[in-house]
Symmetry: C2
Subunit: 467 residues, 2 copies
């Protein structure tokens, strides 16, 4: 019998969570219905509405000061409740990714539905997993605890961002301006997956992210490719050459100095990862491929968790409609992102990337760049006893024991919490790799949601006992 199973405060909270699950799902659906796409200026009012909706929910469960807090972009939501020696910060984001291609959705992305999925019931819709479904697990755990015990067992600050999917431009100044209110003993971030869909995980290594948009201009207007082709430079050709040159034949990235600060995984971590039983063939096969596509001498898990990448996220130029148009375009552009590990410096890499592009530009071409975020990788210290307490609480809730893992994704806020606020972050999430986040038909298992809420209740209990 583990400690959390003997905590008399916990059982009635877990029971309440189970009993109130239908109401909790109705609230989640209401939040999903707000199309809070942060990258698209047309959805600015929707982001504001999502922030206001969350603040109202928080005020209803005792976070009396909860409110949208304005930024130059979309608002943050902040609110604090509870008392106690230990102070926890809960972070999630209420903004979502764009929804195109819209025609691949089985149902409009902002009309959630609860239906049968491959492993039981699911809830559908953009944000159902990333990150509305996940952040609501905090809110519902606190709601249940307050309903049963009248107040929270520790001091909790809720902090929800609205720009996570668009490079978090307001985050650093906001953290700096609200350092006192936001600095807690430890942060809890709910934006990650169960390992292989079954094992709870506390992610302790996250890749950083550097986003760049490159636009190459050749002739001063779109031209007829017959009347000018051959004699006038084609910017799509130039852009293709830029992109083709970013990787060598062994899958390594060629930007000068790119691998400065990339460490090998420590042996004890590598050994722990080896024991996780990562099913590489299944992971790749599920998305229709069979061979790890990165550096030739690395496993897929290494490529995802511990190696840096360079991916083209979008490319555009010339005529893209139905049929054919013999145009020689004036411009071509690409959105390129780098995932970073260890001590890689995103600002140095940005400079070196831009210098590389300039160095391969032929005569008569110009290039412009736009920034889309820059964050270093994060490696958490698991020395803080809260990490092991939380791991134990998660192990109590789920059929498999919880593990410390890495992730391929980038959650820059974890790094900012460390560098700006001086606190570690626990990345605990309940999503699954087939949730289709960032893709059409995004979904979240009700199992993830219910056990996620229960997990946070257990973590609240565990961390309040220890304090």
């Amino acid at each position: 019998m583990t400690s959390s199973d003997t905590d008399p405060r916990l059982e009635p909270v877990l029971d309440r969570i189970d009993q109130q699950m239908d109401a909790a799902l109705e609230r989640l659906q209401a939040l999903i219905r707000i199309p809070s796409i942060s990258t698209d200026p047309a959805h600015k009012a929707d982001c504001q509405q999502a922030a206001e909706w969350l603040a109202e929910e928080l005020r209803g469960i005792g976070f009396e000061d909860a409110a949208p807090r304005p930024t130059p972009g979309h608002p943050m939501v902040m609110g604090t409740a509870g008392t106690g020696e230990r102070h926890l910060l809960f972070y999630g984001h209420y903004d979502v990714q764009p929804v195109d291609p819209l025609d691949l959705w089985d149902r409009p992305p902002f009309e959630p539905e609860i239906k049968d999925g491959p492993r039981g019931k699911i809830i559908t819709g953009r944000g159902s997993s990333d990150d509305k479904g996940q952040l609501m697990t905090f809110v519902e755990a606190c709601r249940a605890w307050v309903a049963v015990h009248g107040s929270l067992p520790v001091k909790v600050t809720m902090f929800f961002e609205g720009e996570e999917e668009s490079g978090s431009p307001s985050l650093i100044p906001f953290l700096e301006e609200n350092r006192e209110a936001l600095t807690a003993d430890v942060a809890m971030i709910c934006d990650t997956d169960l390992f292989q869909g079954e094992r709870p995980a506390i992610t302790t290594m996250l890749r950083g992210l550097l986003g760049e948009e490159v636009t190459i201009t050749g002739p001063n207007r779109d031209l007829h490719s017959g009347m000018f082709g051959g004699a006038v430079i084609n910017p799509i050709r130039v852009l293709s050459k830029v992109i083709a040159g970013l990787h060598d034949d062994e899958g390594r990235i060629t930007v000068p100095g790119f691998y400065d600060g990339v460490p090998e995984v420590p042996e004890h971590i590598a050994a722990q990862w080896a024991e996780l039983g990562f099913r590489e063939a299944e992971f790749l096969g599920d998305v229709g491929v069979s061979v790890p596509a990165g550096e030739q001498d690395r496993s897929a898990l290494e490529m995802l968790w511990s190696r840096p990448t360079c991916e083209v996220n979008g490319i555009s130029g010339g005529y893209e409609g139905a049929g054919f148009k013999t145009v020689l375009p004036s411009k071509a552009s690409a959105k390129i992102s780098f995932r970073l590990v260890g001590d890689q410096d995103p600002h140095a890499i940005r400079e070196n990337f831009r210098a590389y592009v300039q160095s391969v530009l032929p005569a008569d071409c110009s290039v412009s760049f736009a920034e889309h975020g820059a964050s270093k990788a994060s490696v958490m210290s698991t020395q803080n006893p809260a990490f092991e307490l939380a791991r134990q609480a998660l192990s109590d809730e789920w059929p498999k024991e919880a593990a410390f893992t890495g992730t391929g994704g980038s959650i820059p806020v974890a790094g900012y919490f460390n560098t700006i606020l001086g606190m570690d972050a626990m990345l605990i999430g309940f999503a699954r790799e087939d949730n289709l986040i960032h893709s059409p038909n995004e979904k979240y298992d009700l199992d993830s949601f219910q056990h996620g809420v229960r997990s946070w209740a257990r973590i609240l209990a565990a961390l309040s006992r220890e304090s």
Copy 2:
């Protein structure tokens, strides 16, 4: 005094043309207002309407049998009038290019306007030059001749296509099925430019065109580039590598066997081209570039008229909207065209191109291809005396003497007239390089239109005298 200036039939026709110019321009505007974009299925009815409009105009000036003739795609317009030993075929196309990017047009593309231009008045709108403005020069010349003399001085067949801008899928079978009606002594095609905007030209060398659409598929769906990037192949990277590999560092095209059948320009033609005074720096400078971008050892005029090319006309993949989306896309595609010269075989090149793409595909990628037309280059025989008669008639109308030239564009119908109907074609047009054909703000000089109509009247006179 040249022969055409002494032809008593001609002067009243030229006078009539000048007097009726306003009415002719109103008719041209009515035709431009019909948005006959052949490549876009949404405009099918508009193409039909343009064909009907033209047929009605032709019936009104004595082409009693003129009618839209159905094809599996958009209709052809055919009609015959006049008698005489000599039979001329006049060819133009009533379909137009797409209009995007729409926001770069100063005015809606299908609302033509007559206004001041850099050299006098212009008419604006998609198709004002390519090819509605040009084909109406035939119609108005015949109208004036019939109005003055009651009938045409030679037998004339009008033949207007509606699929020229979308690969002419119905053209070859239509020519084969209507061989008898369409076979004339010589064809006249009005779809080319004045040389450097001032010298009338009969184009005798045209590049062929091969269009291919390439779609590369990697993973079976769009993925999160953090959760999968590095381990899963990115089709944009693969497509970029395909495109980057199509040219070597000297600007030569690398498709195996591509240069089979590419001749050097004969010395006497090269000498004639050298005398034309091609203003290379001005040609390039006008579109914002300074260096010929093709094969390193060739002049821009050679690149345009006598060398083959490979151009990417469009590329698309991943997230292309505002902001950033960390997607690893399932697919990426490009529209690629080859301009062909001499005896290059488009079908062999298509096969070799496809084999090249297959040969560079990495594991886990597949490729699909779509055809967008394939035509050989055309080189006309100027032995037919009609060529020199027409050249003389053009020289009489314009301030500079007419020349035999090449063109970078592809007008496959000229080749089909030769191979299927056994007749040469004279490519005579009055457009100018700054007409922005295929681009926003397409326009046509009223000077081109008026002197174009008058040119055809002179050519009708010259070729009827000779017969």
